[in-house]
Structure formats: C-alpha cells, structure tokens
C-alpha cells in the first residue's frame, strides 16, 4: 500500500477532506503537522511533527521517518505547506516541481514579475515600503489602486484606495496588521507590500490540475458578487461559469502560460483572474487546490472528490477523463457579519431547507471572536448548493444566507445584537 506524507498545518480546514480521500483510495497516510497532536509519538506511523519553519530541518526529519516507513508522495494541503512539500519530496528523491517555482507562486511580488516578464496580462504593480510616501506609490500605479501583503491568503489585508489620503490610511492599517502577533510576517513581508492598479470587472477562479505542464481545467467558478473594495471578502463561487466560451478558452490559455512562466508542471493549481472589456487579467496563481471547505462544491464522475484527484496525481496515477458532474454547484463563504463574539447562530436548519441547498456548515463556535476584513479572514461558515443551472444555485445560496442570523456580543460588554 502506498504511503503519502500529508502536510497539514494545525490551523488548516483541509484535514477531513484529505483523510477521507486517502481512505477511499485505500492509501496509508502519515499526517505531518507543525505542532504536536495528542497521538504524535503514540501512533508513530500516523502522526509526526515537522519543523514547518525550516524546510531543511523538516526534510531531514521526514527522511529519517521514511527510512522505516517508505513514502511514495508528499502533499502540501495549503499555501503554507506547498514549498515545504516540494523540499521534502526533493530530499526523498520523489517527483516535485522546482522549489524556486513553488516559492514564486507563493510570493505575490515575485509571481507578478515572472508573469509580466512572460508577457501575460497583469495589472500595473509596484512593490513599496509601508513607510513610503503614499503619493509616490500612487504615482507608480495610478489611482484607484489595491494594496496587498506579499504573502497572506484569503484576501486578508487587501484594500482599495481611491486617493492618496485613503492610500496612506490603508498603508498604515496594513502595517499594523503585519505587525500583529497572529500574523506570521517577517523580513520584507512585514515591511513591504504590493500595490496594483485597480481593474474593474468580474472575477473568476480556475481550479485545475497540471500534468507534465499540461493544464486540465477541473472547474471555472464565477464570483457573482462584485469585488470592488474597499475590502475583498469573497462570498459566492458558482460553476459552471457563465463567461462566454471563447473567453473561458482564453482564461485557460493564460493560466497555462502563467504556470509555465512560474515553472510549475504538476499538481493542483488555483488561479484568480479578472475579466473586463480588455479580456482576462491574471491576478494570482497558487500551487494548491481551492481553500477552506470550498472543495466540497466540486464533485466528479463517480462521486470522486478534488482531494482524491490531488492524491492520485501526486502518486503519478492517471486522473485523465475525470470530469465534473453535470449539475451546477456553488459555495458561499458566509460573510463575517461584524466584529464581536459569537453567542449563537439562528436559522441554520431553516437555511438548509431552501431548495437546492445541500449543506450549511457553521464553523464559528460559540464564544469565538469574529474579526471583519481586512484584518480578519476566518469565514464563520460555508453554504453549499447544487442545481440545474448557475443562476438557480446562486439564488439558493443567497436565499439560505438570508435565513441565517448571527447573534454577536460586543467584546467589551454582554449586550447582544443580531447581524446577518
């Protein structure tokens, strides 16, 4: 039986989906985490802890483990672990993409430079120091612009500025966020960021698998809610896309060229693009599958999941011919209803009764502190829907969300308020 080393940060959403996929495929899994779990050491082949902060040390630890428990593939479940997974695979002599390619995909500035050099359509951008004169930054990219941290995920810290005054305020706010203790930013990532020209238009996300550099599009999601700022909290993803077929073909072509420009040839990718009258513009490409619980919105022939495809691909098994189910499907990342402490969430069962809704998952627990964007990034829940067409799915998601009511207590006192 093949053993996969699965890298799961202790803050990931991805454990359940990957473990279920491994089980369905009959694979042995060893979970590697950044912090000890209760079974670390007690079930030595089941859970190990690696030094996620030091790829070299983690590779040594993994190699030591692999001497007794041979490993067939290494899989990083999310942004934080893909570079580490590549480094470990390299140390074990397993197939992997170049570490430089994985690092480039992880760093927004390096990625942009590579994409621009390859002649791909990207917004005008500049790297800047957070203590720089906002007018100088605005002069390089124009206004309105968007500033974003070099590494944070889930649109955390991403802000739009329409004038120099609001740009200065956004830069100070981003600086404070990057200095906060719950953000693991160091070096240039702490003191520098990326600014880019704001591009109007609709946003789409492409989910794909690379095999020997060839892109297989697994799904193209529309994001029907406008993402015009001032913050960029994501909400609804719906597939299949309602974008014109010729534009979809151009999107796939751009993503294929972007992966090649970065040096990526294998494994899952998640790309985000804007589409406007000038065509598709690539914003980001990550060498990982879609995040959060969103992969539940994807189901392939025979009930195969995205994680099964990722694991099969990692083992070099054939994944060709697996197409997405015929139904339209979608997910809503439930918007953060406001700042406060969750007392309870009402209307969950009612939301689940909306026709087309498959699942309402509330991930925020009672007593949890909710932090709105741009400082926050933890969605309090996910809603999943399926239907005959994308419009029906989108309507079901909005209707279900309309039935949810988060009862929050302000952090300072016990007074309650309802928020949707």
């Amino acid at each position: 039986m093949s053993r996969i080393l699965l890298l799961l940060p202790t803050r990931t959403w991805r454990a359940e989906a990957f473990l279920a996929a491994a089980r369905r495929l009959g694979l042995e899994i060893t979970v590697a985490t950044d912090k000890p779990l209760v079974w670390t050491g007690r079930v030595p082949e089941g859970v190990i802890v690696l030094d996620f902060a030091c790829a070299e040390r983690a590779a040594e630890q993994a190699a030591e483990f692999a001497r007794e428990h041979p490993i067939a593939a290494v899989v990083g479940a999310d942004d934080d672990t893909v570079v580490l997974a590549g480094a470990i695979a390299k140390a074990l002599g397993l197939p992997h993409d170049p570490i430089a390619a994985l690092e480039a995909a992880r760093d927004k500035r390096v990625q942009r430079e590579r994409l621009l050099a390859a002649g791909l359509p990207v917004p005008r951008f500049t790297r800047f120091r957070l203590d720089e004169d906002p007018a100088a930054v605005a002069a390089r990219v124009g206004l309105p612009c968007v500033i974003k941290p070099l590494r944070l995920a889930a649109s955390r810290g991403v802000m739009r500025a329409d004038d120099v005054t609001s740009l200065g305020a956004a830069m100070r706010r981003l600086g404070a966020l990057l200095a906060s203790p719950d953000v693991d930013a160091s070096g240039e990532c702490r003191h520098e960021a990326l600014a880019e020209t704001f591009l109007p238009g609709a946003e789409v996300a492409l989910e794909g698998l690379l095999e020997d550099g060839a892109l297989r599009v697994l799904a193209l999601f529309d994001k029907p809610d406008p993402l015009d700022g001032p913050y960029f909290e994501e909400t609804i993803y719906v597939t299949p896309s309602r974008v014109a077929p010729e534009t979809q073909a151009r999107i796939a072509k751009i993503v294929t060229r972007a992966a090649a420009a970065l040096g990526l040839t294998r494994g899952p990718i998640h790309a985000e693009l804007r589409v406007n009258v000038w065509g598709p513009w690539i914003l980001e490409l990550a060498a990982r599958p879609i995040g959060g619980l969103c992969s539940r919105a994807l189901r392939f022939e025979g009930g195969v999941t995205l994680e099964e495809l990722v694991l099969r691909g990692a083992l070099g098994l054939n994944t060709a011919g697996t197409t997405r189910e015929a139904d339209a499907s979608g997910v809503m990342m439930v918007p953060i209803p406001g700042a406060g402490v969750v007392e309870r969430v009402e209307g969950v069962a009612d939301a689940g009764r909306v026709p087309g809704i498959e699942q309402v998952v509330i991930t925020a627990h009672a007593g949890e502190r909710l932090v709105p964007f741009p400082e926050g990034s933890r969605y309090p829940g996910f809603i999943f829907a399926r239907g005959e067409d994308p419009a029906a799915v989108e309507a079901a998601l909005r209707a279900a969300h309309g039935r949810l009511r988060f009862v929050l207590a302000p952090e300072a006192d016990a007074a309650t308020s309802g928020a949707r």
């Binding site: 799961l8 495929l25 779990l37 079974w39 995920a153 627990h365 990034s377």
Partner: protein
C-alpha cells in the same frame, strides 16, 4: 434467485465495500474472518473467500463488509458478492457456523473493549489537549463516538480520530467495523486548534 432480496453496496474505499442486506444475516452479533481457513464451516464466508482477491470478511447484523487484497474497481466483485449473499439466504442454511461465533465479540463485548481503551489510553491522551471521547453505542461491529472539550470543533479532530483513535481501536479490536464521529463540532466552545487559513 429471489429477486426480492435487496442488497445495497457502498464502497468505503478501494479496498473495502459494505453490503447492507434488507434482512438480517447474523442478528445482534458480529463475525470476523481474517482468512479462508477461519471461514471453513461457515457457508457465506466460504463462498466469499472463494471469490478472487477477497482478503477478509466481516458479517454483523444485516451488513457484510468485504476487504480485498489488491486494488481495483468494485462493480464486478460487488456483483459476485451480492450473488453469493443471495444464494446463501435462499439456501435457508445458517450463513455462519455456530462454532465460528465462539470467541467472536458481540455488541456488548465490543462496547466494553472500546470503553476500556477509552478509559485506559484514549482519554488520558486527548485529555492532555483538554478533550475527551465518549462511546455513544455499538451497532453490529460499528462504533459511534462523540468528542468533547478541546476535541469538539478542533481543526485537527479528524486527524485525532482517524490517525489516532481509530488506529488504536483497530489494533486492539480487529473485528471492528466502521467508526462514526457523532460530534456536533459547530457547538464546540473551546477547540484546541481552530482552522483559519483559507
């Protein structure tokens, strides 16, 4: 063949498939056969081991779980398993020999052994992260658990369950069927690890 006998096949993974029959095969009891030699004298188990690639068989209540030795698609083998189960039921003979049931744990015994492991090893371990695990019940050889404290809503709860608790239970109770987590994780107030990355 009796067309009225309905069997639902549900592959658990590429190696295990669960067949739920619309009538009991072994009411209130469970039998585990780790190889063909142990199946001798039990007609259903013998018939299943006669099929290619069958590595182990568990019969519990109205459920037959078949584990195969290699990998492959289930439909062909599942059809043959279904035929063997139907043939056995139509014969009217007991599917499992009484002798084979000697020493096989019933629901009560499986429950007691799980409880013992919870008290002796599992709860002291998860207690170090402020958690606990409770046995809700046993059906056939399937076990239903509920996690609490730091395990309830923890981002690593599934790793704890599948990579730790279930591994340990299977080492100690090879006859074990499936392990189900019945926890309402959204209601957890103090999870040890909270998922937050996109």
């Amino acid at each position: 063949m009796d067309p009225e006998i309905k069997i639902k096949a549900l592959p658990i993974d590429e190696q295990r498939c669960r067949f739920t029959v619309d009538r009991p095969l072994l009411p209130g009891r469970a039998a585990y056969f780790g190889d063909a030699a142990r199946a001798a004298g039990s007609p259903l188990a013998e018939a299943l081991f006669a099929l290619p690639d069958v590595a182990s068989v568990t019969v519990a209540g109205d459920v037959v779980t078949v584990t195969r030795g290699g990998y492959g698609e289930w439909p062909d083998l599942a059809r043959k398993v279904g035929m063997a189960i139907r043939a056995q039921l139509q014969s009217g003979a007991p599917p499992i020999a009484e002798a084979a049931l000697e020493g096989m744990p019933g629901e009560d015994e499986i429950g007691a052994r799980v409880q013992q492991l919870l008290e002796r090893e599992i709860n002291p371990a998860v207690g170090s992260h402020g958690g606990w695990v409770e046995l809700l019940g046993v059906q056939g050889n399937d076990v239903f658990l509920q996690l609490g404290g730091g395990c309830q809503g923890c981002g690593m709860a599934d790793v704890t369950l599948k990579q730790g608790i279930e591994t340990l239970l299977r080492q100690e109770i090879p006859e074990l069927g499936q392990v189900f987590d019945q926890t309402d994780h959204a209601a957890g107030r103090n999870p040890y690890y909270t998922a937050s990355k996109k």
